[in-house]
Symmetry: C2
Subunit: 248 residues, 2 copies
């Protein structure tokens, strides 16, 4: 009964606060992938599996997540977006859908991912939903000296949670810097790929150094030895956004 | 047992999303005033009543609410802020406390209030928590023509909810304009006082005009006749912030 199969590329924005991350899980946990698959399934009456470009952790947000799926439904994409958004919670919005070549795969076709981390110097009733906090004024110049060491192709094993799915811990970082934007310090990082919790571990290390609680040499030591200092915890997920996914 | 009474002026920031407005209410409703009074009462072991400069509606936020109270507690103010914030939900933060003259009254001593309304052209999973939405591109020049008519001393009865506490509907507006800030259209308005829901009715009228659904003459007609067109609903509370309260 289904027409020709189409491959659809979609862009998604979400407030990750209330979700147990991107990835569908069995049981009662609410995930972004699970919510979108349920909405698409209800509209198309097919069993839809979507592939996300980045598997964001619990509490991490996205401005520009990209996902792909195939469907036999002939529904015009404008109507599909509209129907999907009306079924989804307000904290997830599909912002675009377009037809892609059959070979398109949101994860494998992606050539770069950009993340941004928003940091406040003190907690805020309003801004803390979408920011981490340093509880004091960090030395941003010191943080930027460490950020400047990240670009290049290197082993980031020290800045990653163990992940059985992970075949390699080598990433090529092409941009990493802190800048000021209004009341936030913003860390921008771009790479071909990221390891599990990698941005949050890097940010945590730079904040600790910026607050004078970690020597710059200790940060460099982790990077070179591929071993994380045991007391380094990942920075608060609330500050992290998957910002943009690049395709050739 | 209590020491000398002190009058304290405090500044408060809150995310109004989960609160039934500023004003304490009987029953199970959670209000910002009620939450702060409960925290102060627990710390000082006194029955504390606080006076807010602006009684924000359900769902309205504040960056710079001001409130005053008197206490016999000799606790240093830095410690009082810290204790209070540790008891309050994360969506309310006391940002400053200082001792004020005995005659200080957060509401009656205030000489100006500034509000800001944040408007998006389309809904966002992230930004809609703190913004209203026009669902399309409004004519900002038209909105600014109407905004330019507001400054001065006039009767704003047309742009107000009935309020039995209200003795007069005359307000002196000293600033009213729309400007662009990133992805938002921002309306700034400053006046000596505001009527109940006044900013949200004014914003709703300007958005309707900006979207071509209300003639500019109809807006002017409401202002001059002091009668609101019956189909004008107040703009979404999520976009409104009590921004700053001025004292001489």
């Amino acid at each position: 009964m289904a027409g020709t199969m189409r491959t659809i590329k979609m862009e998604i924005e979400y407030d990750g606060t209330g979700f147990s991350g991107w990835q569908r899980q069995s049981g009662a946990l609410t995930t972004v992938q699970g919510a979108i698959e349920a909405a698409l399934g209800r509209i198309t009456q097919e069993k839809i599996g979507i592939i996300g470009a980045g598997r964001t952790d619990k509490g991490v947000h996205a401005r520009g997540q990209v996902a792909s799926f195939t469907t036999g439904s002939p529904m015009p994409l404008g109507r599909l977006i509209h129907s999907c958004n009306s079924l989804l919670p307000d904290t997830i919005r599909i912002t675009a859908m377009r037809q892609a070549p059959e070979s398109f795969h949101a994860r494998f076709s992606a050539t770069s991912r950009g993340y941004r981390y928003f940091l406040l110097e003190r907690p805020s009733a309003i801004d803390s939903r979408f920011a981490g906090c340093s509880y004091g004024k960090p030395d941003v110049a010191a943080m930027n000296r460490l950020a400047a060491m990240l670009p290049g192709t290197r082993d980031f094993a020290a800045f990653s949670k163990e992940d059985s799915d992970q075949q390699s811990t080598i990433c090529t970082v092409t941009e990493a810097r802190w800048c000021r934007s209004g009341r936030y310090h913003v860390f921008r990082i771009k790479a071909n790929r990221f390891l599990r919790s990698m941005v949050r571990f890097l940010v945590a290390g730079m904040i600790e150094a910026g607050m004078g609680r970690l020597e710059e040499e200790e940060f460099v030591g982790m990077l070179e030895s591929c071993r994380r200092l045991p007391n380094l915890k990942p920075a608060d997920a609330a500050g992290l956004f998957l910002w943009k996914v690049g395709y050739d």
